[in-house]
């Protein structure tokens, strides 16, 4: 698979064309948090409904490139309905994936424990080979982490 095909995998294009959990939640009671990438103008707004230590619901709006949009869609599918502890660990695992050095990605292609726990999110592993696009992939995740931190305060 070429680097480009690895970047634009079918799962990513699918989430870009048909984003999951798109929309808004009434806020309040939901918590609303916004993220911007001033360099390329990408924007994401996330609505979080947290009950009894569980991320009961999540909705997103915003616009941006296929990487930022599919990453936010994949993220929403991965964390929706999960206990907050699991959400935090998924965020950590995903951010580690984005920090992975190129050679590490080659070695771990398909079979590392991290990639397996990430499920569909592993499709975003190809982004690491395009350093300028990593910030596209991480925008929604950083925004989610910020939102959860705001809720916990």
């Amino acid at each position: 698979m070429s680097n480009l095909e690895n970047l634009y995998r079918e799962i990513i294009l699918d989430h870009y064309r048909s984003p999951r959990n798109r929309g808004e939640l009434a806020s309040p009671p939901a918590h609303k948090v916004e993220g911007f990438n001033p360099l390329c103008g990408d924007e994401v707004t996330i609505y979080l409904d947290v009950h009894d230590g569980v991320l009961a619901d999540i909705k997103l709006t915003g616009h941006g490139c296929s990487i930022s949009q599919s990453s936010s869609s994949l993220m929403s599918a991965a964390v929706k309905g999960k206990p907050l502890d699991d959400v935090h660990s998924t965020i950590e695992t995903f951010k580690e994936l984005m920090l992975a050095h190129e050679t590490k990605v080659e070695e771990s292609e398909g079979d590392s424990a991290n990639l397996r726990t990430l499920g569909e999110l592993a499709a975003l592993a190809g982004v690491v080979k395009f350093p300028v696009r990593i910030k596209c992939a991480t925008l929604a995740w950083n925004t989610l982490a910020q939102g959860l931190q705001e809720i916990s305060i």
């Binding site: 480009l4 103008g41 696009r133």
Partner: protein, 411 residues
């Protein structure tokens, strides 16, 4: 005598021999920075190999040669834009941005205050907006904008009203997003009629066609070396000698003084007053070579070549994509330069640029440092194609092939 052949220009540019992802480089980002011909690279190498010394100080032979090389570049740049006061009117800066900052922070701070207006346009680069907002914070000057119409050109319907209390009109010669060339001569006449001075951001216009400051009857011109086949790190602010004489110094340090005592300093006379510290000497040598190279091509020829490329590209984009690739800029190639901003249906500009890179095609995605203009057209970003004297219709063919693939993948 000028002679223009795009094929010969291409052969003069070493970077065009590079391959990216197994493909020849298709460089369509000259609006951001141009590629350099051997003449420029060699002139800078020769300078560093044999003639380098600091300028304006030494009495030894190479120091005198370096000073001559630096000052002769000033004279060449003055000739290139037909500055009436020749080298006495050319201030070397870092780039266009620094030139406009010098204008705002020195001339603006001294001559403008509350009740005065600086008139800009909605199609300006941030470099011709932010320094004026900064000046507003310190002096209370009002900043006003000429709107851009749906035809991607300045809407001059209410120009008389907009010009009220204006002391400076500062506009771009050519939009770095739309490609629109403004009628600077007409705008300058209108501004002068109310007693305002006229500054032109020439970052795009100087590199792609003839610019004659005397014929345009403007008062300031700012431009960059690296967009006109020269090196990075050098820019120019031209202004009339009579205006220059009313301007105090810019940054303080060596080279810009006539005298320093324990109780103060006296600034140098002339352009030296604005050039504190060791200037970009090798860059001035490179810019001189770039100017000579462009003069050899003939700026009329460069403009005609790029107009031909623009017409060809606009026509083929229309025919190939049937509206799926929208051009954000005038369709008419009269008063329009070779900058083509694309909005590709269903494909974000970053993804367009990423796909194009796979074909060795260099285009720029983003807001192009013109966010007010992007907002005007409800766009977050575009993918921008821009030509240089070395560009060819073959470059456009590769662009179309790669765009086709992008539409296929995301469609």
């Amino acid at each position: 005598m000028t002679s223009f052949s795009a094929r010969r220009v291409r052969a003069d540019i070493p970077q065009l021999t590079r391959r990216v992802h197994g493909r020849p480089l298709t460089y369509l980002d000259s609006g951001a920075s141009s590629l350099q011909p051997n003449a420029v690279i060699d002139a800078m190498s020769r300078y560093y190999e044999l003639r380098h010394a600091n300028v304006h100080r030494g009495v030894y032979t190479t120091a005198v040669e370096a000073t001559e090389a630096y000052e002769s570049s000033r004279a060449a740049v003055a000739r290139f834009i037909n500055a009436p006061g020749a080298q006495n009117e050319i201030v070397f800066t870092k780039n266009t941005t620094e030139s406009i900052n010098l204008l705002a922070k020195v001339w603006g701070a001294a001559h403008l205050g509350e009740g005065d207006v600086v008139l800009l346009s909605e199609m300006e680069h941030h470099a011709n907006i932010v320094p004026w907002f900064q000046l507003r914070e310190s002096t209370g000057v009002e900043v006003r904008f000429i709107p851009v119409g749906d035809d991607y050109r300045l809407d001059l319907t209410n120009l008389d009203e907009l010009l009220r209390d204006v002391k400076l009109l500062s506009v771009t010669g050519m939009s770095n997003v739309l490609g629109t060339k403004n009628n600077v001569r007409e705008l300058a006449a209108a501004a002068h009629s109310v007693g305002a001075l006229v500054a032109v951001d020439g970052a795009q216009s100087v590199a792609h066609g003839p610019v004659d400051v005397a014929a345009l009857d403007i008062d300031f011109l700012a431009f960059s070396g690296h967009k006109m086949l020269g090196p990075t790190g050098i820019g120019v602010l031209w202004t009339r000698e009579s205006v220059l004489d009313t301007m105090g110094p810019f940054m303080g340090g060596g080279g810009m003084i006539a005298d320093v005592r324990l109780d103060g300093f006296t600034p140098a006379k002339g352009v030296a007053r604005f050039e504190a510290g060791t200037p970009p000497i090798a860059e001035a040598v490179g810019l001189h070579a770039a100017v000579r190279y462009l003069e050899g091509l003939g700026m009329d020829n460069v403009a005609a070549h790029e107009r031909y490329l623009t017409e060809d590209a606009l026509t083929r984009l229309e025919l190939a994509f049937d509206g799926r690739v929208r051009v954000i800029g005038p369709r008419d190639v009269i008063d329009r330069g070779g900058v083509i901003s694309l909005d590709v249906e269903g494909v974000h500009p970053h993804d367009v640029a990423q796909m194009l890179d796979e074909y060795g095609v260099c285009v720029r995605p983003g807001h192009h440092c013109a966010k007010p203009l992007m907002r005007r057209f409800n766009l977050a970003a575009t993918a921008r194609v821009s030509f240089g004297p070395y560009s060819s219709t073959a470059d456009t063919s590769v662009l179309l092939e790669a765009l086709e693939q992008a539409l296929k993948m995301f469609g």
